[in-house]
């Protein structure tokens, strides 16, 4: 069985088959201030205790620091809920983006079942867990019962081989996969990443890879436990094999850096073929705001000036502190960039970088749908391409600066 099917079978006590609907106990629940808003409104109507206060994480990241009186009031309602229910894992504004905070906090071990009130919950697959994104009402049900239902996905094995070429990063790999599969090509599937290129990816890069698999419609993604997973958790973990997939796809790591053009994540082209002037560059988000991403950006921005408005936001306080210690924040500031505390703000077009009419943004985020970041157009790329383009004032192949 595939890794996902083994996890679901163990959890439900029987061998699950793709397409069947199973009810399942959940090991952990994650939500942020965006999804908690509706979930807690619903939960108030039920008037119960949460299923297990030690298995819930709430992170403030969508409206941080608050951009309106209304959102401040909602934050206060959620803080009250956290206190009344004794929620163990609560992270207030400035702690980080929920998915990065989860990866750093490690509240569960590999092979666990997690539901998250956010579509990018697939990120945790890099940690060897089964993690599924859901809407706020589904989250409400789990909050009260500790259970949810799944339609058992079909397993897709995606093998990525080959060496990582100059200027190519995990972001380029996942953009290439979405281009090949299509934006609905993995709909309702459980993607299992394998292959020599995946083996070599750092945990930061694996989180990027698993984060964006939702943009091909996948229900979850997973990477089998290896020495990098063990290093992340700081312990020995039993490795389990896997087989029997509905579909197998084999790809080579892309030859060159890529960019997703407006207004679809599947509209992917080599950077060298895209000519576009830009008004704003954004480096951050749950996709590419990790330490490794900041280091790549800093290495390009060192002793250079940005020619367009450039917003950089490390994805967690922990990453921000490491960037400070290693001098990256100074490099960013000296380059002329704006450094923000961790938040989802720019990527979801809520605040701190909302685009005006006809403005063009090159972003390391995960979505370029019309209206996502405000008005205008969004191109998606790796932090290296973003930093290089910031220096050059137009979309630029990062190999020029590497």
């Amino acid at each position: 069985m595939s890794l996902t099917h083994q996890i679901l079978s163990r959890k439900t006590g029987r061998n699950v088959e793709p397409g069947e609907i199973v009810e399942c106990n959940v090991d952990f629940l994650m939500m942020h201030d965006g999804s908690a808003f509706i979930a807690l409104k619903n939960f108030g109507k039920i008037g119960k205790k949460v299923f297990d206060r030690n298995k819930i994480m709430i992170v403030f990241d969508h409206y941080c620091p608050s951009n309106s009186i209304e959102n401040s009031n909602i934050h206060n309602q959620i803080r009250k809920f956290v206190k009344n229910q004794g929620i163990k894992y609560f992270f207030d504004c400035g702690s980080g983006i929920c998915h990065q905070v989860f990866a750093e906090t490690k509240p569960v071990k590999p092979y666990s079942v997690i539901v998250g009130g956010d579509s990018h919950t697939t990120t945790y697959g890099a940690l060897g867990v089964f993690a599924v994104g859901m809407g706020a009402t589904d989250i409400t049900v789990t909050l009260a019962t500790g259970k949810t239902w799944f339609m058992v996905p079909e397993a897709y094995r995606i093998v990525i081989n080959g060496r990582m070429r100059k200027g190519v990063y995990a972001k380029d790999i996942i953009l290439d996969i979405i281009k090949n599969l299509g934006v609905a090509g993995a709909n309702n599937s459980a993607v299992e990443f394998e292959g020599s290129a995946v083996k070599k990816l750092s945990m930061d890069s694996r989180l990027t890879l698993c984060n964006m698999v939702t943009e091909a419609g996948a229900m979850n993604s997973i990477i089998g436990v290896d020495e990098k997973t063990e290093k992340h958790f700081g312990m020995k973990i039993k490795k389990i094999g896997s087989n029997h997939y509905g579909k197998v796809f084999e790809y080579e790591s892309p030859d060159e850096p890529l960019v997703a053009c407006p207004h679809s994540v599947g509209n992917v082209k080599p950077v060298r073929e895209v000519e576009a002037e830009i008004d704003q560059v954004f480096i951050g988000s749950c996709t590419n705001g990790r330490y490794e991403d900041m280091r790549v950006a800093a290495n390009i921005l060192r002793n250079r000036k940005v020619r367009v408005r450039t917003i950089i936001s490390p994805a967690s306080r922990n990453i921000y502190l490491r960037c400070l210690k290693d001098g990256f924040i100074k490099i960013f500031m000296q380059s002329g960039a704006i450094v923000l505390p961790p938040s989802c703000g720019p990527c979801i077009g809520v605040h701190n970088g909302v685009l005006g009419k006809d403005e063009v943004c090159l972003s390391t985020g995960n979505r370029n749908f019309k209206g996502r970041m405000g008005s205008g157009k969004i191109y998606l790329c790796s932090p290296a391409t973003a930093a290089s383009s910031a220096v050059n004032g137009e979309i630029t192949d990062p190999r020029r600066y590497l």
């Binding site: 609907i21 965006g34 999804s35 808003f37 509706i38 619903n42 109507k45 039920i46 119960k48 969508h62 409206y63 309106s68 209304e70 959102n71 909602i74 009130g117 956010d118 579509s119 994104g133 859901m134 809407g135 706020a136 009402t137 589904d138 409400t140 049900v141 009260a144 019962t145 934006v183 609905a184 709909n187 309702n188 419609g217 229900m219 679809s264 979801i348 077009g349 809520v350 605040h351 909302v354 979505r367 749908f369 019309k370 209206g371 996502r372 405000g374």
Partner: protein, 153 residues
């Protein structure tokens, strides 16, 4: 149910249905599909292509559509999270492969049989029937009400 339909394309995302900056608005319907600069106020049905509701898990997408007066969405396929959110909030979704409708055509939709008649052209279409477990939730008015009726919540 009889009413007029607006036709949209493939991969309509939740960012387009309700942009993030309006997710806290008390009048979600006012901003529904503002990302595409479309007003859907006078329509009862949306007819769309593949992968309707892709992207963010924001439940406000379903709430905005309902608030704007949409009663049923007919699409070739739906994104996974959007589908669950719609069922959980009792918004009707019909999967229909070969539907042929133009903007402002008037449809007569029978949910029980999943039959769609385009009253403007006289042509009928057969959609997939809504699965039983989803229909039970929708009939109760959403999953919270359904689970309350069952005594689960």
């Amino acid at each position: 149910m009889k009413g007029s339909a607006i036709v949209l394309g493939d991969n309509i995302s939740t960012d387009e249905i309700i942009p993030g900056r309006f997710c806290r608005s008390p009048n979600l319907g006012e901003h529904c599909l503002e990302g595409l600069n479309i007003s859907i106020k006078k329509y009862m049905f949306i007819v769309a292509g593949e992968n309707f509701g892709c992207g963010s898990s924001r439940e406000q997408a379903v709430l905005a559509l309902k608030n704007a007066g949409i009663k049923c969405i007919i699409s070739k396929s739906f994104a996974r999270i959007f589908y669950r959110n719609a069922v959980n909030n009792a918004l009707l979704l019909l999967k229909c492969e070969n539907i042929n409708v133009k903007n402002n055509d008037v449809l007569d939709v029978t949910i029980r049989t999943a039959k769609i008649k385009n009253l403007s052209t006289g042509v009928c279409f057969q959609a997939e029937e809504i699965p039983n477990f989803a229909m039970k939730i929708i009939r109760s008015g959403g999953i919270i009400k359904y689970y309350k009726e069952l005594g689960v919540l």
